[in-house]
Structures are given as structure tokens and as C-alpha cells.
Symmetry: C2
Subunit: 556 residues, 2 copies
């Protein structure tokens, strides 16, 4: 194993190489990178296009020279791995500058080829001005295209992480941006009602947000620009198109060598990141990983997991015990001052996995104490298992301290915490930093109250169903300014005196602005024998769920 | 139990009352509060003095009227509990307005009297212009004193949370502030070298910071101001003095009634927050709580734990199962743009508790990826148990995202996580939010590398001891700009070629700027058979440890 070749020199490959050297001073380590750079900051590319990161050099975290000097690692850029000859343990390599092919033998081979942007075979897809965002040269080309052509209008295809980051960066450069997304929501990992906050924010900053409409093709317009055509028949003019539809694992080398791949299209590895060939490991965007919560295979093209996989592979190659614990899908994106983050499962992903013993609660706590100026709401959704309260996932959207709460819940999920643990968490509190009941505590309390039977959560998808009465316990002024259709208004302060107005033979679904007064009302009602349930998150959650219902209705 | 009296209507009392109502719609609930307000935001008082919070009304989170209307709770402000007659289960109460005394019987009694600021019996301590900061009226008096007297100079006695917050708020109001602290450091919960960052920041913003010098007394000066005299013989002029030396549990009522108190001076309770009398519970700053890590009794006058204790007491009174899990001492303070936070044990508190099987590592990661503009260092210290890596505590100081990392580690500690879990944590990463290796991951990795035997940590207190050679692997320019005295400089890139310059018979303690290059060097050296250890945190940590050593030397 003392000669190790690593194919791919970005996050996974570079980390694996450096870790290998730290574990084995004597090994011969060779890194092959097809592109001109190793160890570049992939996740920074949209911000380089946006000129937030102004110098290309900032994106380059380590040069081949540094690898040589610091780690005695032989890094060959513009060298491509062409073919693995597994029986001989040899790799056929092409020098992309000279065009020559040569061979290197290996004791261990690590594949870290990454994933490539999906480029659908649409009419006009190869027209100049249509770009993907994967490498430093990609980004440099986009920058130069904007400058050379004086681009004013951009179309971004795809509303995921990269798509949204590109939307923001192009808009901040002054371009008029259209976002086109085939799904009914932006940010596919989020549930649609949580993604709605992001859509609203994006819509208030750019010219067009077109959801539920796929791109059908591209053509040149008469002024030298591009026309983007959608499946519904719309046309958007653009001087620049960014394809950010998603990525696909780069598995050609592995497949050609007969290595096992999985149903999601990635290289199949075990917990030591070893492929079906005991001399070959694979890490990063090209592999399938186990979901740490559901146990299902999935793709997870994120830098953090790639680095951890790289460390595991290095340890395994050096004969150490190490295992990758799987992924829980923690992710964050910032767009126009809003942060959206997720960890663990979404309601969508739970339903997709056939999980039914879960429950969801919503809340809208401030990022810090309301009495200290400048508090901003964090819109949260917590998913947990019934009846034991195991935390399954959380989503949060807001302007401040969003990643903090998701990170705490990420650690909670990692350690198998329940909502009762969240309720009891002892977190930082000073007026400008949090609340004595932190948003994480609040989420835990709402869920724990339901699991203890003190409340019952009325799922929003059952709003008003089975003849339920919807009770709004806000003040009349709030009710008149906007309420759930059909809701009866009895302010919380009057509730005890007006119990006789409420039916004892029907479910009562109680809402307020964000859920707190409704919870108090549910406690009053349940103790008086009513079948009261909580519409968690209140009218504020209703307002983001309503557009989903409207869209679903429109399709039916 | 259906008649419940609660003594004290701030954090613990108000929470307990509201929770009781939610659990028992029929109970008779009476809250007695000596002061004019209930449920006020204690933690906001310094910011009200500083005019960051501009209206007194913002501090008042719930009025007696709201308690009556929303919870059917009888709240009596300016009513003081005078005496508990335990045999009769009666409370003697004084109406502070009329002066009349009366009695109320109880099924359950909850004591939530809080803690009172320590006012040492010093010469002149009762002079006008000397204030403590506990209540809304206290703060209003300070505001009015500043305005009426045109105060220009303030002295703050005590460099803990409240003291630092008062320093900042008075300075931001334009006062010239002197801080006097008897201990050798500010922020007593932190270890001195971590508190040093805070001291430096405070020193750069105010006129005088005087550590290691106690206040000896006060006298009037000839211009109507005050003179603050210290034990060392210094005198500081002040128009205003804030005493923020600490607080003492209010236990008179409990002691007079013969309830058990503990060695720390607080009311002794069990995990259900029940005192030695089965009909009396106690919560908040007045009680002693168990340290969740060491199991020792301690005082923990913080709002978050008080609220959770109040919920446990309410549940216990209602016959439900609930237990307070103890405190881990998570706390945060902000001062002049710097945030300092802690969770779990400090090195000081571990030593005090006689724990010796711990290890400490230091690091200085950026709050987010360095390639994205504006990254700020977070100075961190992680404490963990050897050999299993159980996380015991963490401290962090920096300008951004400090509470986030401490909160994640707080959850880790709560769930019994190890440094190996921190290493594997899957946290939010996008360039403006974090790094693929988050500061929490980095802390875990450094510790895990040591526990796996890949490095060994040289404790800073053993710097240069036993004839160890100190090796600085930074570049010569860095070394010449400032280095640990006596350190030999061999840049990392030259290390492999200069191994023969290093001794094989001595320990080699390796440092760089922050610890990363030194770690690489340690790996090289150890694999070549040298006894190399890591000075974690590097020269940056040395620079905050040096002042401690200097102070200790000065005393010897």
C-alpha cells in the first residue's frame, strides 16, 4: 500500500492526500488533477462571479508547490486518469498538455473525481453564453463574458443552492435576473412551505421567479442575446444563462473498471470508503453514502462530508480503524440577507422513505430576546418521531443566527437526542444573543408538550378536515387584518368566559399568530374537556402553507 | 396542593406560575412579588442603563393584569413574604404599601426569591452615587443619576458578566469608565488566558482596567464626586460607582423556616426542586444546583436554568414525573464587539474539583472560510477527559459566531459526546457561514489526534520544562516579528531536510502561529522517532498566556 494514487485534487482528494502523509511519512503519494488547480474553494465560485471574492488567488487554497514542499506529495495538474487496470494495479494517465499517456502502479487507489453539472440535451444547449459553475475557469469565463458582452440580463436555471447563490451574485452585480425552476419550490432539500420564505425573498429582489416550469430550449435572439424557452411556452431574453440544475457523480472511470455503483448513480463504498475492489477507495461527490437517519443510500455532494470521507479513506488505507458515520444532510444557503438551513430529514424525505410515525411542529421565535432591539424571527420546523421524540430533522429560515440553531440540532441528531433533550438544552443567553428559552428549547417544548399529551398537534394538511372548528384566539384587530378562512375568533383573554360557544362534539383546531397563545388556549380547552388541537406556527405558518395549497389546487 | 403560593415573580416565579396554570386549570395560584414589577427582563438592565433599550416598558414582559386575564393567576406586587409557618402551611405576608400583615395558607409553596447583589461592608459603601443593578428601579435610578448629575466618570467594581456589561453601556453613554476587579482576570468563569482577550478589548475602550486590586472604600471628594480607594492604595475619582461583585442567594425566608441550605449558601433542593419540606419547592438564583458534569453542588444564577427549574417544580407539584438535569454553566457575554462564551467546565473548575485526567487544546479558527471576505478568528479552548475523550468544557472568544460554536458544544456535552463526535459533526457550511472543517470539527480533530496518539499535547504550563527544546516552524519573518523566548526556528518546509539539527534525547515542543503547521511538524518528527509534542494554539495562545505568567512572576 505504500504507493498511493489519488484521482482528483479538490476537497476530497486534497484532504485525503494530506491526511495520508500525516499518517504515513514514508508512503509515495501521487495526486492527479485533470484541471489546472488543486484544492480550490469550490463553494466560493458563485461569490467570485459576484465579485464578493475579488481575486482568483483567494480561491486557491494550496498549490502543487505547497503540497510538494509541505507534504512531499507529487501533485500533477492537467493529468487525467484514463483507465484503471485493476489486475495489474495500474492506472493509465494522460498528460493533457503533451497528450502523452503513461502508467503508474499503485498499492492503493483513491477516486475523488467529484460530480459534474447536469447539462440536459436541450435545443441550443451548446450556444455561447450558457455556463455551468464547477471550476475556477468556469467562473472566470462567466466574469469575462459579463464584462466583454456588457451582459444586463441573466437567466439562472435551477433554484437549488448554487442556483440561488448565482441569482444573488448576478443580481448584486447589477444584472436583471430570471430564475427558472422546474419544481414547485426553490431549495429542494427544504419542505415547500419552508422554501416559500426563500422564494418570497428572492422574488422581492429579482425580475422574475418562475417555478413549476422547466426549460425547454435556447435560441439566439436577433440582438445577439439568448432566448430561454420554457415548457409552458414562455420566453425570457438573457445575455447569459447559468445552468444549475444539479450534479451527477463522475463515475466513468469506476464503471469502466467494473467497480460497483449504486441505484443513485454513485460509486458504492463501504463504511471505510472502500469500493468493491479492496485496493480502491472512493470519496466525495462521486460516491453514494448512507443516510445516518434512514439508513438509505443517497448522494450528498457537500464539502464537509467529502473531507470526513477523505480522512476515513486515508485511515483505512493506513490500516487504521475508521468508519464514515453517514450523512445527515446539514446544509445552509444565504440569499439576499436571508439564511436557510436544514439538518436531518425533511417531511418530504420522510414520506419518500415511507416513514409515518413522525410529527412536525412550526415556530417563529426571535433570534434573541424581544426586549433587546433588532430581534429577527427565525421560522423553524422540527420533525421528530412519535412516540419517543427522537429528533429527525429541522429546517430554519431567517435573517440572523439561523445556522446556529440548525448546528445545535445537527449535534442533537448526531447524538440521538430527543425533543426532551432540546427542551432541556442549556444554551448561550444574553439579551443580544438569545433568549432564556432559546429557539431550540422552544422547539423542543412544543414537541415535548405534544408527546406528553398536554397538547395535540393538528397537522396543517388536516386543516379544517373532519368538520373541525378553526378557533383563532388572537385579538379582534389581528383577526380582521387576516385570518384562516372560516376561523371563529375568541381572544385568549375571553376564552374561559366563552367556553359555551364552542362545540364539544367536534375537534377544535386552535391558531393564533405564531402558536403561543393557541397553546395556552389548547391547555384551557383540553382541561375543560374539549378536543382541542394546536395549529403550530399559527397564522404565520398558514401564510406560507397557503401558496402550496393554491398551487396544488391549480393543478387539480 | 390545589392552592399554590409562589414567592418571587421574576424569571423562576413567573415561569412556574404560568406553567402551573397550563398543567392545572383549577388550582388557585398566588404570586407574591416584593418589587413593583413581575416578569421583568433582568438581563436587560445594563442595556437599559446604556439606553440601548430605551423604554422601561420594554423590560416588562408581563403585567399582573396579563397574568390575571390570561392565566387566572393572582399576582400581588409590593407584597413581601415575611415568614413561613410550615406546620400550619401558612405564609405571613406584608403589604408593603399599607404595611399590613396577613396570612395565606398553601398546599404547595414555591420559593423564587432570587439573589441579591453583594454589598461589602466597606467604608462609605452607603454614599449616594453607589449603585447595584438588580431591578428596574435600580436601573432607572442610575439613568436618572447620570442625567441629573451630568456624570462623566464611572467606576465599575467587578469584572464579571454584569460588570462588563455595565462597563460597555456606561462607556457607550460617553462616560469615562474605570474597571476594578480583585481577581487577576475579568470574567471569572473563563480561564485566565481566555479572559485575557476580553481584558485586552476592554482596555482598548476604557480609561482604566485595574485587575488584582480590591476596592477598599469610598469617600466624597471635594467637588461632590466620589473617590474609590483600592487595597493597593490607588484612588480613582468617579461620579458614579456600580457594584457588580456578584450575588448571594436570598435565603432568609428559607433559613428562618428551618429549610436545609447547602455549603454554597443556597437552598438545598432535590432533582424535583423540592426543599427539605415536602410542601415547599424552590427555584432560581436562591437554590443550589448540581453540576451536570462534576456532580458537585454549586450556585448558578442564570435565567435559562431558572426557567427550566421552574418548569420542573410546576410538574412536580402537579404530581408529574420531572427532574432537573443539573447545570453545565453555559454563559455568554458581549463587550465592545467581542463575544465570550463558555459551556461546561473550565480548567480552573476542573482543578478545583480535583479532576486531573483532562487535557486542553487551543485553536484560533476563522468564524467562516478564510477565502470569503471578513472572516474573524474565534479563540477556542476545548477541555476533554483522557483517555476516552468525553467533552468536559469549551470556551470561545471572538467577534462573530462565537455563541454558535459554544451552543453546539453545549449540546454535545449534554449528550455525553466525545471529541471524536465533534470531529465528525456535520455542521452548516457555506463560505459566509463556516468552513468545511468547522471550528467545532477542528477542535475535535486536534483533541482526537492527541487521543489516538498521533500527536501529544504539551501543556502550556510545561513550556520549556524538563529541558524541552521549543521549535518554531513558522517562516523566519514571522519568527523575527515575535517568538516564544528561546525557540529555535526551522520553517516547516525545511524540516525534513534539517532533522539532524534536532536532538533525539530531548522533548521537542513545537509551535507555529496557531497550531496547524506545528501539527504537521509533529507528525513528521514523531514518524522520524523524535519526542515531539504540540504547543496547541501556537504563538497566538502564547501571547495570552504570557501575561498570566508575568502576573504570577510579579507576585512571587
Amino acid at each position: 500500500m505504500r504507493k498511493i494514487i489519488i484521482v482528483g485534487g479538490v476537497a476530497g482528494g486534497a484532504t485525503c492526500a494530506a491526511r495520508l502523509r500525516r499518517l504515513d511519512e514514508e508512503a509515495e503519494i501521487l495526486v492527479l488533477e485533470r484541471g489546472p488547480y488543486v484544492s480550490f474553494a469550490n463553494c466560493g465560485l458563485p461569490y467570485y462571479v459576484g465579485d464578493v471574492i475579488r481575486e482568483e488567488s483567494k480561491l486557491l487554497q494550496a498549490s502543487p508547490e505547497l503540497f510538494r514542499q509541505r507534504f512531499r506529495i507529487d501533485v500533477r495538474t492537467q493529468h487525467e486518469a484514463v483507465r484503471i487496470e485493476r489486475e495489474k494495479r495500474e492506472l493509465v494517465i494522460r498528460d493533457l498538455v503533451s497528450g502523452e499517456e503513461y502508467r503508474e502502479s499503485y498499492g492503493a487507489l483513491v477516486l475523488s473525481p467529484g460530480a459534474s453539472p447536469i447539462v440536459p440535451p436541450l435545443e441550443g444547449i451548446r450556444l455561447p453564453g450558457i455556463f455551468t459553475v464547477r471550476t475556477v475557469p468556469d467562473s472566470a469565463q462567466i466574469r469575462s463574458w459579463i464584462e466583454r458582452h456588457g451582459a444586463r440580463r441573466a437567466a439562472v436555471i435551477g433554484g437549488g443552492f448554487i442556483g440561488l447563490e448565482m441569482v444573488e451574485n448576478l443580481a448584486c452585480r447589477g444584472l436583471e435576473v430570471t430564475l427558472i425552476e422546474a419544481a414547485d419550490q426553490v431549495m429542494p432539500p427544504l419542505d415547500p412551505e419552508m422554501a416559500e420564505y426563500v422564494r418570497q425573498r428572492v422574488s422581492s429582489h429579482i425580475a422574475n421567479v418562475r417555478l413549476g416550469d422547466a426549460v425547454a430550449g435556447f435560441e439566439k435572439d436577433s440582438h445577439g442575446g439568448l432566448l430561454v424557452k420554457t415548457a409552458s411556452g414562455l420566453r425570457f431574453g438573457a445575455d447569459l444563462v447559468i445552468l444549475a440544475i444539479g450534479v451527477r457523480p463522475e463515475t466513468k472511470l469506476a464503471r469502466d473498471a467494473g467497480l460497483e455503483t449504486g441505484g443513485r448513480g454513485g460509486i458504492r463504498v463501504d463504511a471505510q470508503m472502500r469500493t468493491s475492489d479492496p485496493h480502491i477507495w472512493a470519496v466525495g461527490d462521486a460516491v453514494e453514502v448512507k443516510n445516518a437517519i434512514t439508513g438509505e443510500w443517497q448522494l450528498c455532494p457537500l464539502a464537509g462530508p467529502a473531507q470526513r470521507q477523505a480522512r476515513v479513506a486515508a485511515a483505512s488505507i493506513c490500516g487504521r480503524e475508521a468508519a464514515f458515520r453517514g450523512v445527515q444532510g446539514t446544509a445552509v444557503v444565504g440569499v439576499f440577507g436571508l439564511t436557510a438551513a436544514i439538518t436531518g430529514e425533511s417531511e418530504k424525505s420522510l414520506r419518500r422513505a415511507g416513514v409515518t410515525d413522525y410529527e412536525a411542529v412550526y415556530l417563529h421565535p426571535g433570534n434573541h430576546a424581544g426586549y433587546y432591539p433588532g430581534a429577527k424571527p427565525i421560522h423553524m420546523k422540527l420533525l421528530y418521531r412519535r412516540p419517543d421524540g427522537l429528533v429527525l430533522g429541522a429546517q430554519a429560515v431567517g435573517e440572523s443566527d439561523v445556522a446556529r440553531r440548525i448546528d445545535v440540532i445537527a449535534m442533537a441528531i448526531q447524538k440521538g437526542a430527543t425533543v426532551f433533550d432540546l427542551e432541556e438544552a442549556e444554551l448561550c443567553y444574553a439579551p443580544q444573543y438569545g433568549s432564556a428559552k432559546d429557539p431550540v428549547n422552544m422547539a423542543g417544548m412544543i414537541a415535548a408538550n405534544a408527546l406528553r399529551g398536554d397538547t395535540e398537534i393538528a397537522p396543517w394538511r388536516q386543516l379544517g378536515s373532519n368538520g373541525a372548528l378553526i378557533l383563532d384566539v388572537r385579538e379582534p384587530g389581528e383577526h380582521h387584518a387576516g385570518a384562516i378562512p372560516g376561523a371563529v375568533n375568541i381572544p385568549l383573554g375571553q376564552l374561559r368566559g366563552r367556553l359555551e360557544e364552542l362545540p364539544r362534539d367536534r375537534e377544535i383546531q386552535v391558531a393564533c399568530a405564531v402558536g403561543q397563545r393557541a397553546y395556552y388556549a389548547v391547555r384551557v380547552l383540553r382541561q375543560h374537556g374539549f378536543r382541542a388541537k394546536l395549529l403550530s406556527g399559527g397564522y404565520r405558518t398558514y401564510k406560507v402553507i397557503e401558496p402550496q395549497c393554491a398551487r396544488q389546487d391549480a393543478r387539480q
